[in-house]
């Protein structure tokens, strides 16, 4: 049987993992993830990480800043793949860590953990380029169906990738959803990963993204009150300063992909929550760029209008 520690060491050294090993990891991961509730209950101390989008060097930087797993507890809010050039390495490392330390790391599903989106935004092409076929893409996107949708921290902080849904007033409604499938185009499961807060409105409004909803302060207050919670943590939206706090500190966005797409020149952050529930946004910049033998240097590949 393959040794998870050996696979982890290869991954930390940025070595590519063979297709049969990925198939093996996925089959193990399914058994672990399937047992998780749609809303996982977690405790502080914990570090919350937002979108990574295949920026593997920056994921390694996160472990340098926040401390290595398992010595730090982590919850990742989704969007592991697409846009960056190292989505395969990113998702493989995280799945491996989940298998090795299942109680120390939680992986939520983001809107990019989807067959359709990954065909448009880069993960599919990356798999083709690195493995010569779509097999790895298929295995990993099948695993996405098993990722959980939400979490709570100390029964007081609600964590989700995108945001709230007009179909969900109580967390118990999320628990009873059937999550083991591709995202439907609309409904609660889609809303949870596509919605965005909007300070200019009070209630729900159609999202300019074309999926999910925009939601305002009234909705946030109602949800927190209804579920006896005091904060919502989410990711999903690019933040130039790495994070954003809205609605009189009732909601925060954590964004963990610095210099997003090697073009946006934004900062990133991870949110460190201590046992006294104090929240600290640890802000960081892009990791020093290192060339991957499989992919051309990222600066030259970054796209503009010429």
């Amino acid at each position: 049987m393959l040794n998870l520690d050996q696979i982890l060491e290869r991954l930390y050294n940025k070595q590519i993992i063979a297709e049969p090993v990925i198939a093996y990891l996925c089959s193990l991961a399914k058994e672990v993830l399937i047992q998780e509730s749609n809303v996982v209950r977690l405790c502080t101390p914990i570090t919350v990480v937002g979108d990574i989008h295949g920026q593997f060097e920056d994921l390694l930087e996160i472990f340098r800043i926040g401390g290595p797993c398992p010595f730090t507890n982590y919850i990742f809010l989704g969007d592991y793949v697409d846009r960056g050039y190292y989505s395969v390495e990113t998702i493989t490392l995280l799945l491996c860590l989940k298998l090795r330390y299942p109680k120390r790391i939680t992986l939520l599903r983001g809107n990019h953990e989807s067959r359709g989106i990954t065909q448009t935004y880069g993960f599919y092409s990356e798999c083709l380029r690195k493995y010569g076929s779509a097999n790895v893409w298929k295995q990993i996107t099948d695993i996405f169906d098993f990722l959980t949708l939400a979490a709570t921290i100390d029964d007081s902080i609600f964590c989700v990738h995108g945001g709230l849904s007009p179909s969900i007033q109580h967390i118990d409604q999320i628990v009873v959803l059937d999550r083991f499938r591709e995202f439907p185009h609309e409904g609660a499961m889609a809303d949870l990963v596509w919605s965005d807060p909007d300070p200019s409105i009070q209630e729900f409004s159609l999202s300019p993204r074309g999926a999910g909803y925009s939601f305002g302060e009234v909705i946030v207050s109602k949800f927190l009150h209804e579920n006896n919670m005091d904060h919502i943590l989410r990711a999903h939206q690019l933040c130039s300063e790495g994070y954003q706090i809205l609605f009189e500190k009732k909601l925060s966005t954590v964004w963990s992909a610095p210099n997003y797409c090697y073009r946006c020149a934004n900062l990133a952050s991870i949110l460190q929550i201590d046992t006294d529930k104090s929240r600290f946004f640890n802000v960081f910049d892009a990791a020093p760029n290192q060339e991957n033998p499989y992919v051309e240097p990222t600066a030259k590949a970054t796209e503009y209008f010429l």
């Binding site: 809107n111 448009t120 993204r209 690019l238 020149a265 934004n266 600066a299 796209e303």
Partner: protein
């Protein structure tokens, strides 16, 4: 020269946008590179907004003004705009003149020479692919380093008496500011009814702008005017100083919001969903369209 490559980059963007259905371009197939290319949705959207907005200004110019009009396209490269317009508007009233560096002209004229469908659109023509030269009733393609214009003027086929728009779709921005401005001033002085339509990057000073300069520098591409013209206001002042009396300038966030009709917005939103709107606004804020005209042209356009 890496600046020559920028045409290929733009061609790939246009090809991707055409293939996905953002742009209708029956002629790009004649200039295609060999591989099929799919650009990310954000790039397709930007290519669409760029193409739509330039088409919009030029269509207004070509339809609102009576008589014969001229469009001089600087650094035109493989742009198919001339063919797209000639297919739909009365040929006898339009003359396109495309100026570019010799290698680009050779490549384009060679491609045209092979295609009956394109040659049929030109009227009477004379073509020399080795010289990169095409002369015809509707379209001239002439190799010229545009930096020579202030000293040597334009080729004889250009008519200074005609209402003219000079188009710089990411061309002048690769020149030194004084070179670019000398060219603009030369046109203002020699043409009585003239407009300049410029599409180029702005906001080079913020962190996105600095990253853009650095990324492009690693490809040997330098946006030389970006240092001097940071904001929309800077661009307006620039063209006022170049002698133009009426100037409209806006960034692509404003342009998409104010110029593009809702029905078009809905159409392109259905083609591909943009997953990150903040990224689009950030990118679009760093590109602008400037339309600077003489009073005479402005009055005729009735804007």
């Amino acid at each position: 020269m890496e600046v020559l490559e920028t045409d290929l980059d733009a061609l790939k963007c246009r090809m991707s946008a055409t293939k996905m259905g953002y742009i209708d371009d029956p002629y790009i197939q004649y200039f295609l590179p060999k591989r099929s290319i799919h650009k990310p949705p954000i790039i397709n959207r930007g290519t669409y907004v760029r193409t739509w907005s330039i088409d919009h200004v030029l269509k207004n110019f070509l339809t609102k003004i009576e008589g014969k009009k001229q469009i001089i396209s600087l650094g035109a490269g493989t742009d198919t705009r001339a063919f797209r317009f000639l297919a739909k508007l009365p040929k006898e009233t339009i003359k396109f003149i495309e100026l570019d560096l010799y290698p680009n002209c050779v490549r384009k004229v060679q491609s045209i020479a092979k295609q009956e469908a394109l040659l049929a659109m030109l009227g009477d023509y004379k073509l020399d692919a080795t010289k990169g030269m095409l002369l015809s009733d509707s379209l001239d393609i002439l190799p010229l380093d545009i930096r020579c214009i202030p000293e040597a003027g334009l080729p004889d086929t250009a008519d200074e008496s005609l209402p003219t728009i000079v188009l710089s779709e990411c061309c002048l921005c690769y020149l030194e500011p004084n070179e670019a401005n000398s060219i603009c001033q030369w046109f203002r002085e020699h043409f009585s009814c003239i407009g300049i339509l410029v599409y180029e990057p702005i906001q080079g000073m913020d962190s996105f702008g600095k990253m853009m300069k650095s990324n492009l520098a690693s490809r040997g591409i330098y946006l030389k005017t970006l240092e001097s013209y940071d904001t929309i206001e800077d661009q307006k002042t620039r063209f006022k100083n170049n002698g133009f009396q009426r100037i409209t300038a806006l960034d692509f966030v404003a342009l998409e919001k104010e110029w593009i009709p809702d029905i078009e917005k809905q159409r392109i939103a259905k083609i591909e969903m943009l997953d990150e709107l903040e990224e689009w606004y950030l990118l679009a804020k760093h590109y602008c369209l400037v339309f600077a005209t003489s009073l005479s042209l402005y009055d005729q356009l009735n804007l």
